[in-house]
């Protein structure tokens, strides 16, 4: 990798923010896998934790790719600007679906 774009380490901090968001989702999913089956007894209660773990892994990979791409664009190794919203929209949508699943769990138990 070439020199840093910015002394304030903005791309690096943004990469770390994606990473800790993915880790928060992974930790929450692991706790859900541990706690939810005891709370209800249905095998369906394993689903949110599993989907959450897979999503967290995907988010980590996507975050790493996005950071590398951002770095290369800002240091003009790649054409184009930073900051597309596809992964942003997908993350918001996935979080909303998780909240709906949580609502369903609380209302049906």
């Amino acid at each position: 990798m070439s020199a840093l774009f910015d002394a304030g380490l903005q791309p690096e901090r943004t990469g770390l923010a994606w990473r800790r968001t993915a880790i928060a989702l992974a930790v929450g999913s692991l706790i859900a896998l541990r706690v939810l089956p005891d709370a209800g007894g249905s095998a369906w209660l394993l689903l949110p934790g599993m989907v959450g773990l897979i999503t967290a892994a995907g988010l980590l990979v996507a975050a790493e790719r996005r950071y590398r791409q951002t770095h290369r664009r800002l240091t003009a190794e790649l054409p184009g600007h930073v900051g597309g919203g596809a992964i942003v929209a997908a993350t918001a949508l996935a979080t909303g679906l998780l909240a709906l699943a949580a609502l369903l769990f609380v209302l049906t138990r």
Binding site: F5, D6, G8, Q10, P11, R13, T14, A17, W18, R20, T21, A24, L25, G28, I31, A32, V35, L36, A39, T70, L74, A76, P79, G80, H81, V82, G83, G84, G85, A86, V88, A89, T91, A92, L93, T95, G96, L98, A99, L100, A102, L103, F105, V106, L107, R109
Partner: protein, 134 residues
């Protein structure tokens, strides 16, 4: 004020890859990338807030805590509904801020900041009452 610059990269003159949502990136001009990155981190902070709210709401009901049942359920629902609205704020805030940056306008205020704080406070009060009246 509105100079579409997303089609070609001013530095290299080469075609810039398409960015979603196209409507947003068509407007205005490219801001300082550091602002775009800061906007992205704010979005992520809202998402982590949503995850915490959802986890707290589920935990209240899933852990079998010895609280007043209706108060516990109310606190749980309040947290989860807040956790449902927060991703909307995250997306709308990201979109609105990016648009304001591109148009060099004042940044929008987060609409759901105060309601989120009130919801967390109310959930806390409900849990305390649930402990007192169990």
């Amino acid at each position: 004020m509105t100079t579409p610059s997303h089609d070609t990269d001013p530095a290299t003159g080469t075609a810039s890859p398409h960015r979603f949502p196209a409507r947003l990136f068509r407007c205005g001009s490219e801001p300082d990338p550091r602002f775009t990155l800061a906007n992205e981190r704010t979005f992520l902070a809202w998402i982590r807030t949503a995850l915490a709210l959802i986890a707290a709401g589920v935990a209240l009901e899933a852990l079998g805590l010895d609280l007043h049942p209706e108060l516990r359920l109310s606190a749980s629902l309040l947290l989860i509904v807040a956790g449902l609205l927060t991703p909307l704020q995250a997306w709308a805030g990201w979109y609105g801020t990016e648009r304001a940056l591109r148009r060099s306008r004042p940044l929008p205020a987060p609409i759901l900041a105060l309601p989120t704080a009130v919801a967390v406070l109310a959930a806390g009060v409900l849990v305390v009452l649930g402990v007192l009246f169990r």
